[in-house]
């Protein structure tokens, strides 16, 4: 009888211990689950932030593409009833043997106008470029670049002229319209 009571007591105590262990395990699981859910939340937040960033990048890229397309359209086609302004700055230097500052100014201005004409011609019609490099024993012996511009320019206007320290700068502008090319 005594042994049976002791056995039952032992069993009850062992069952109690077993319950305690189970409860401690379930608490740890809860903590783990909470930590995992927190991690998942963080990951979700990160993913959301990344998607927002990607959306912004896509929107920026779209806007850039639209701007590029618009600029290409504007550059390629001279539209009717719309004119395009092309301006260029030319520089000229007065010769050393001038008799007066006024002459120096006049000559420098003339040279600057020619330079501005050249610049406008380059913009409107383009430049022909030829390059030639001579290499001997793996060393550059001679490097030559030739450029050539040829155009006819009408109705170029002087916008601004500055003359300082013998250097004359002239800003010139031409207006190109569809009617100039339509025949």
């Amino acid at each position: 009888m005594r042994y049976s009571v002791l056995l039952s007591l032992l069993l009850s105590v062992s069952s109690l211990f077993a319950n305690g262990q189970n409860s401690s395990n379930s608490v740890e699981d809860l903590h783990r689950a909470k930590a995992e859910s927190a991690l998942i939340k963080d990951e979700l937040d990160n993913a959301r932030a990344q998607t927002i960033l990607i959306k912004d990048e896509i929107a920026q890229a779209r806007a850039e593409n639209q701007e590029k397309l618009a600029s290409i359209k504007a550059e390629e086609v001279l539209q009717k009833n719309k004119s395009t302004h092309i301006s260029a700055i030319g520089q000229g230097v007065s010769p050393l043997n001038t008799s007066s500052p006024a002459q120096a100014y006049a000559l420098a201005k003339r040279a600057a106008i020619a330079d501005a004409y050249r610049s406008i011609a380059e913009k409107v019609k383009g430049v022909r470029i030829e390059g030639q490099d001579t290499i001997k024993n793996m060393m550059v012996q001679k490097s030559t670049i030739r450029t050539h511009v040829q155009a006819m320019i009408k109705n170029a206007d002087i916008v601004e002229t500055t003359f300082k320290d013998g250097l004359c700068e002239v800003e010139m502008e031409i207006v190109i319209s569809y009617a100039d090319f339509a025949q």
Partner: protein, 136 residues
């Protein structure tokens, strides 16, 4: 039979010839060419050639320009008096641009030439001013 008043027909003819010959004197045609060369952004040479046309030019007057003449009948003199304005006018008419640049071992040399090809201008001389217009 010859009348006492003189030969009126001959007088009329003489007047007509004088009138017709005086008309081209006031409105004449000139050939003008202009060229200037800029080397290494410094003006190197500038030439303006003016010559009275020996043959009649074809075309209609285009952009007219007025030069003050002080009763002078010499176009060269009139242009030299108003050289800056006239050169600006030539620029507006249009110039051929030719630019050559050569860079050898990073040393650069450039030549820019602006040319007004020989063009026929109709020139009207008046008392104090001269009207000039290219014929095209």
């Amino acid at each position: 039979m010859r009348s006492r008043d003189g030969n009126s027909n001959l007088l009329r003819r003489l007047c007509a010839v004088a009138l017709c010959s005086s008309l081209p004197l006031s409105a004449s045609e000139y050939l003008i060419s202009y060229k200037y060369i800029v080397e290494n952004i410094t003006l190197y040479n500038e030439t303006l050639f003016i010559s009275e046309a020996m043959k009649k030019c074809n075309g209609k007057p285009q952009k007219e320009f007025v030069l003050y003449s002080n009763e002078s009948r010499d176009l060269r003199e009139v242009i030299s008096q108003n050289s800056e304005e006239f050169i600006e006018y030539i620029h507006r008419l249009g110039l051929h641009v030719e630019h050559r640049e050569i860079t050898t071992n990073l040393q650069n040399r450039s030549t820019t030439t602006l040319i007004l090809k020989t063009t026929c201008f109709k020139v009207d001389f008046n008392d104090n001013f001269v009207k000039i217009a290219p014929l095209k």
